[in-house]
Amino acid sequence: MAAPPLPPETAAPPRDPAPPGPAPAPPRRVPRRAPWRARLNPYLLLVPALVPIAVGLGYPLVRQFLLSFQEYGLAQQFGRPAEWVGLRNYTELLSDPYVWGVIGRSVAFCLVNAGLTMAVGVGLAVLMSKVGRAARITLQVGMLLAWGTPVLATLTVWQWLFDSQYGVVNWVLAGPLGLAEFRGHSWIIEPASFYLVATVIVVWMSVPFVVFTTYAALLQVPAECVEAAQLDGAGAWQRFRHLSVPLIKPVLLIAALLQVIWDLRVFTQIHVLQKAGAPTRETHLLGTYVYSLSREFSMAGAMATVMLVLTLCLTGFYIRRMLREEEL
């Protein structure tokens, strides 16, 4: 846009350098150029951040979107031309009741897990702000370890705990607790108990993040306000509910938003548990289902787009609200 007007201006001076005209020109040009550059500078600074985002996120997203309207599988990858099929991938997927089952399960799993994570996380954060130094540091170290352990290492340990033959959970239940039916009990073979195990693992892994963010926010609640409320006769619960929560709400909102996003696209935990011997088809969630479609990139692309729309639907409310609060 800025380019067309420039050439005539810059081309003009060399043509007639003799007339006294050029004299007033420089002062005119300088003020014009300066704001333009000044305006450009912040954008230039954004370039290093925007380029990786465009390359790393934008390109795959656009490609995924385009693929979802094509027929693109293994053969196309090795050079056969890809055919445009319009909405066929979408209609095929969305007319399959199994796909709706997966979507339903994923949303339920996501909401239950995000809710549990927030409840446990906020609870622990409050606990952390009430206990003494030694207990707090113990809690913090424990949380950090849970947060910092690599996912696959964690999953291996959980898998061993719940192993049907040699797992310690079954051993404790069947031995000391005398529940003989748990000897050799398989925890992951029924979808319901599969999701129970998955929930335990997912919540366990995401709680530390919520604890730390909430705890940090709680530290920002001004002591004077708390004291004033206390003098006014507000009990501990009232102080938490009507003072702390409204003050740390932006933080809670963003933590919950992230949990919803993460738990909707949960992949590693489910995938590893499936590999450990669960019935694959009955335990698919969106993440693993998209992966299972990857033999046909166009199908996987369509499903991933559906998943993106779903994520936006679930989080749109939050995002609007967050943006509004930021403006205030």
């Binding site: 954004l46 053969a75 990858q77 011997g277 990857s294």
Partner: protein
């Protein structure tokens, strides 16, 4: 404040960009150095000695070139190949691929035509089922690397205690397994170690009974698990699951010797190289695995002899006495990816692999070599005999273009798990047939 933060962001972004470009620079520099030929082998089936032989022989013939062998995990191999084989930069120059996964890639045009090398590599001596799996429309794209036939390992002492003889037919095998389990009342004892997702062993009953997984009717693949032959065989399988095993329903065919070594199973079925994994507690000499002194090696040899003395092996028997069962022929093919920039070198490497020396080495390590002419080197111990007997009649999964998708979706794992869980056989088969058809067509 704001300015500082933006500056930090920009700096971080620039730093990461630099890091990325530095990585790129590194790999191009490496590629422009001496030529590197890459071979992908899967799992640990190919012993180190054979890998060393390949590298030494290849590099001796090709001055200034290096052969890099990269080991891939069998699990998740198909998606990895799907991305690697389509890229000139990432593709290996020669690749091992599971025999049942070959059709998916040969149909897609991922491999170069090897038809002109057929006779040179062994011609009609190449394992026929594997050649078929690597052929599309009379063009050969993938050649057999090795086959690992399955055989049944058993504890001689437990057979004696239970008064069971080595079974001669498949029906006898089932009675023996049930008798063994009844003779050992321990709560986690299995007559035959048969975990719920173990379809590799389970389909031996299907094939022996004349059943099929899927058959081609015209252009379409049709699931065949509901046919009367398949149903009869699957009912026997369910009986085994119910009465002859206490293996977890959520386990697969990996490491079946663990329970055997723990005294929790009287029999298990595995490729014959599983003999090296048997370690009965009563034979354990407590040798440190890192100890390479002559004493340690002598002790290990003693330990191995002790294990093999107590363990017997036989090929899974067929319907009639004296015939082996039709078992699943596990094994792999080898192919040259189309995208490889070193076609000639890859072909040279193939020639080394199909040389008498290398094929003999494969056989000496208990693998049935791609060129069956050299299978004699398997030796004449009971393991080799059992392997050979099982390989005679072994069978592959359907050579359908999309068979790898069936494995990717774990349809058969789910199906056998349902049978192990007591689901009605006809109902489970109908559902599995539907899924097979959906996936294969």
């Amino acid at each position: 404040m704001r300015r500082v933060r933006t500056g930090g962001l920009a700096a971080a972004a620039v730093a990461s960009l630099l890091a990325v470009s530095a990585c790129g620079g590194g790999s191009t520099a490496e590629a422009s150095g001496d030529t590197e030929v890459r071979l992908w082998l899967n799992g640990t089936d190919t012993p180190q000695e054979l890998r060393d032989y390949l590298v030494e022989t290849f590099e001796a013939d090709h001055e200034g070139m290096t052969l890099v062998i990269e080991e891939q995990d069998w699990s998740g191999l198909v998606p990895r190949l799907q991305t690697a084989l389509a890229s000139e930069d990432q593709t290996p120059d020669l690749v091992e691929i599971g025999n049942t996964q070959s059709p998916t890639f040969t149909y897609a045009g991922a491999f170069s035509d090897l038809s002109d090398m057929y006779d040179e590599l062994g011609g009609d001596d190449l394992l026929p089922g594997f050649v078929e799996a690597g052929t599309v429309d009379d063009t050969l794209y993938a050649v057999p690397y090795y086959s690992g036939a399955r055989a049944v390992f058993y504890r001689k002492d437990l057979f004696e205690q239970a008064g069971v003889a080595v079974p001669q037919t498949l029906a006898e095998f089932r009675t023996a397994a049930i008798a063994l389990q009844q003779a050992n009342p321990a709560q986690d004892f299995s007559g035959f170690w048969f975990p719920g997702q173990d379809w590799y062993n389970g389909i031996a009953w299907l094939f022996t009974g004349g059943g099929e997984l899927a058959v081609q009717e015209g252009d379409r693949w049709v699931g065949a698990l509901s046919s009367p032959e398949s149903q009869a065989a699957l009912t026997e399988v369910q009986d085994l699951f119910t009465n002859a095993t206490r293996a977890p329903r959520d386990a697969d065919s990996n490491e079946p010797w663990v329970a055997f070594n723990n005294g929790q199973a009287a029999m298990f079925s595995a490729p014959t190289w599983a003999r090296w994994s048997i370690a009965l507690p009563e034979c354990d000499k407590g040798v440190d695995p890192d100890d390479t002194s002559p004493e340690a090696e002598a002790l290990l040899a003693e330990q191995q002899a002790c294990n093999e003395e107590r363990t017997g092996v036989f090929p899974l028997p067929g319907a009639q006495p004296g015939t082996p069962a039709t078992v699943f022929a596990g094994g792999s093919n080898i192919a040259v990816p189309t995208m490889s920039q070193h076609q000639e070198e890859a072909r040279d490497l193939l020639r080394i692999i199909y040389s008498e020396e290398f094929q003999t080495m494969l056989a000496e390590n208990g693998l049935i070599p791609g060129n069956s002419q050299y299978a004699g080197a398997l030796g004449d111990d009971p393991y080799a005999q059992a392997a050979l007997a099982a390989a005679v009649d072994a069978k592959l999964t359907p050579a359908a273009e999309r068979w790898a998708d069936v494995e990717g979706a774990r349809i058969l794992e789910d199906f056998f798990q349902q049978i192990a869980s007591g689901t009605d056989v006809a109902q489970a088969a109908a559902e599995a047939d539907r899924l097979l058809e959906e996936t294969l067509n």
